[in-house]
């Protein structure tokens, strides 16, 4: 629908003013009354997050032997969860960076909490390689630093590339997120009445006062960070796919992995944004700011990236036949029809058969309950994609005498479920204490922000 006032597509609900936007968004944070539902959810999230604490403590005491990783499946849940969480994070960067470069104004409503989602997903993801190294208290050995042992890292290994890719991704995401919040912290500082809130938001706002000179430098910096985050996000999942693709193992050694991993990451990430956005807009009555059009657009992005993922699956199957490699062919047959064929079935249903047939229909894309369901299904499917890649490529390798299987232990499940709780708890803290929708970016989109071209008063020109 075209807005007659601005001549642009309408994304926000009607009758929004500068004042109402400020009030709506900052009151969620500044209200002295916390909703009971928030406390209920936070205690559930916190209780589930305790599982990860217990599991990791036991892991530190006993070692990685408490997990199901052994020969031939030496990479298990830790790597699956790492890739899954990092992938979820990617949609946040896509929304905040790539859609900003493409001037997709609708993303302004969802970019802040999508970025928060990125950071918390990276927190959960980063945990897994650290606890997987066996002696996590020595994890800093991954970094090149001068030491008395006189050893240095091996820069030709994709695992070391990962260290740099993921640490850069986390740092740049955090700084981009914080930069975006500084002006909003200024608003919160000025609106807060409680002295402690005033004090802390004042510190966080760094003294932001909205000078247009500052704004112009700020806009340049945001645009540059978006331009930097775009190649960064594409490189991160590419480097992660190198962990697999560089190995000479049937099922891993393929050139399609980088683009297909990136598309899969964005696919699952958008699903997670929907999983978070749909309850949030309902709970905090943000339907005028996160509208049906947002949900619809996210459905379209999921359809597009889902089709790339489907192409990736198709090419994997095709290449295992076309390569004429006995090992490749057996790996694919075993993946589909072997003892763990059920996981491939779940993957195809959740990622291809269900979402890619229904997301074409506009009625379904704007059906909020349906989109919530799709988002859960796609997230499940994408977890199984990583499971299929990691486990079914490993458990029956070249020599039948060395075949094995993989059965995750309770510690594996506890760690995974625990990170879901950790993510929920962190996200709830974000929603309570930080502005979850960027006020200044929403104000920019309001009709009243249009400059009406009139001659300067009192000027001769």
């Amino acid at each position: 629908m075209i807005d007659p006032l601005t001549g642009e597509y309408k994304v926000l609900g009607p009758d929004q003013t500068f004042k109402s936007v400020t009030a709506k968004i900052s009151d969620i944070v500044l209200t002295p009354k916390t909703a009971l539902g928030w406390f209920a959810l936070f205690s559930v999230g916190g209780a589930v997050a305790t599982l990860v604490l217990v599991a990791v403590t036991w892991l530190f005491l006993k070692g990685v032997g408490i997990w199901a990783i052994t020969q031939p499946v030496a990479w298990g849940f830790a790597i699956i969860n790492f890739v899954w969480w990092i992938g979820i994070g990617h949609a946040g960067t896509l929304i905040s960076a790539i859609l900003l470069l493409f001037k997709q104004g609708w993303r302004n409503s969802i970019n802040r909490f999508a970025e928060a989602m990125t950071i918390f997903a990276v927190v959960c993801a980063g945990l897994f390689p650290l606890i997987h190294v066996g002696r996590p208290w020595l994890a800093y050995w991954l970094f090149p630093y001068p030491n008395t042992m006189n050893v240095w890292p091996q820069f030709r290994s994709p695992l070391l590339w990962d260290v740099f890719a993921v640490s850069t991704y986390a740092s740049v995401s955090i700084i981009f997120w914080y930069l975006g919040m500084v002006p909003d912290f200024g608003t919160l500082r000025d609106r807060a009445t409680w002295p402690i809130a005033k004090y802390f938001y004042g510190l966080l706002s760094l003294g932001w006062r909205g000078s247009v000179r500052h704004w112009m430098r700020y806009e340049t910096a945001s645009l540059l960070l978006a331009g930097l985050a775009t190649p960064l996000v594409l490189s991160v999942h590419t480097v992660i796919s190198f962990d697999f693709a560089v190995a000479v193992l049937p099922g891993w050694h393929t050139t399609i992995f980088p683009p297909y991993f990136v598309a899969g990451a964005i696919y699952s990430g958008f699903a997670m944004v929907l999983t978070l956005a749909i309850p949030l807009r309902k709970f905090y009555h943000l339907e005028h700011l996160v509208t049906e059009r947002h949900i619809d657009n996210m459905g379209k992005v999921m359809l597009g990236t889902g089709l790339i993922v489907a192409y990736g699956y198709g090419m994997e199957v095709f290449m295992s036949w076309y390569s004429a490699s006995h090992w490749e062919f057996f790996m694919m047959w075993n993946r589909m029809f072997g003892p763990m064929g059920w996981s491939y079935g779940i993957l195809i249903f959740c990622n291809i058969a269900f979402p890619l047939t229904t997301l074409w229909v506009r009625k379904l894309r704007t059906n909020i309950a349906f989109m919530f369901l799709v988002s859960i299904i796609v997230n499940t499917g994408m977890w199984f994609e990583r499971f299929v890649i990691v486990v079914t490529s490993l458990y029956r390798d070249f020599l039948p005498s060395s075949w094995g299987t993989y059965r995750a232990t309770k510690w594996d499940y506890m760690t995974y479920v625990g990170t879901l709780g950790l993510f929920t708890a962190l996200f709830l803290l974000f929603v309570r204490f930080l502005p979850m929708i960027p006020m200044n970016e929403i104000k920019m989109m309001l009709p009243s922000a249009k400059i009406t071209p009139k001659k300067a008063v009192g000027a001769g020109d």
């Binding site: 500068f18 004042k19 400020t22 090149p144 006189n150 240095w152 820069f155 030709r156 070391l160 590339w161 740099f164 890719a165 850069t168 740092s171 740049v172 700084i175 914080y178 930069l179 002006p183 608003t187 000025d190 609106r191 004042g202 510190l203 760094l206 003294g207 932001w208 006062r209 909205g210 000078s211 247009v212 000179r213 500052h214 704004w215 112009m216 430098r217 700020y218 806009e219 340049t220 910096a221 540059l224 960070l225 930097l228 985050a229 960064l232 006020m439 200044n440 970016e441 104000k443 920019m444 922000a449 249009k450 400059i451 009406t452 009139k454 001659k455 300067a456 008063v457 009192g458 000027a459």
Partner: protein, 181 residues
């Protein structure tokens, strides 16, 4: 960054709409005012244009930062792999530059990103938790919410309190106040 002084910082006019602010700023610039600034709750490019602020040096800082990251990581990798700790991995050359590109690429982005953000804050003179404008009560309640401000600063050679107040009043703002240090 203004140093704490005695007396008047400037005269501040408050407007209801961005268009009023832009028109007033254009006129003031045209009439020879230079030491002035606009304050808005969201970026108003036209206001920056109006007061003659056209380009900034954030891109340059970012470029320099990015190049520093690139050189730092690539030379670190080369030094480690060829001199400090050469490893023979299947007879591959110790100077494997294609493999070195990836960490060097990541550090280019890391350094450029930090330079963009920190450089922007540094050039804005932030963090600076005190500013005389916060002494104006209407500034505190409106500047980050829904009001638009134009401030003529005392450092301008044309500045003189009564004159500046009268000049701004001609644009029919909501209010004109004098801001003290």
């Amino acid at each position: 960054m203004p140093v704490a002084q005695e007396g008047t910082y400037g005269v501040l006019a408050e407007f209801e709409t961005p268009s009023d602010l832009v028109r007033a700023a254009q006129a003031a610039y045209h009439d020879g005012w230079r030491r002035m600034d606009c304050y808005t709750p969201y970026p108003v490019e036209e206001a920056a244009e109006a007061i003659g602020f056209h380009k900034n040096r954030v891109p340059l800082i970012t470029l320099v930062g990015g190049l520093m990251g690139l050189c730092a990581m690539f030379s670190l990798e080369t030094w480690i792999s060829t001199l400090a700790y050469p490893l023979n991995i299947g007879g591959r050359p110790t100077y494997s530059w294609p493999a070195f590109i990836i960490p060097a690429y990541e550090w280019t982005i890391l350094f450029a990103g930090f330079s963009a953000a920190l450089g922007m804050f540094a050039m804005n003179g932030l963090p600076s938790l005190y500013h005389p404008l916060f002494n104006a009560p209407n500034f505190r309640t409106g500047a980050t919410d829904d009001k638009f401000f134009l401030c003529l600063e005392a450092t301008d050679p044309k500045f003189e309190v009564a004159g500046a107040k009268a000049y701004l009043a001609a644009f029919a703002p909501t209010s004109v106040v004098e801001v003290e240090y």
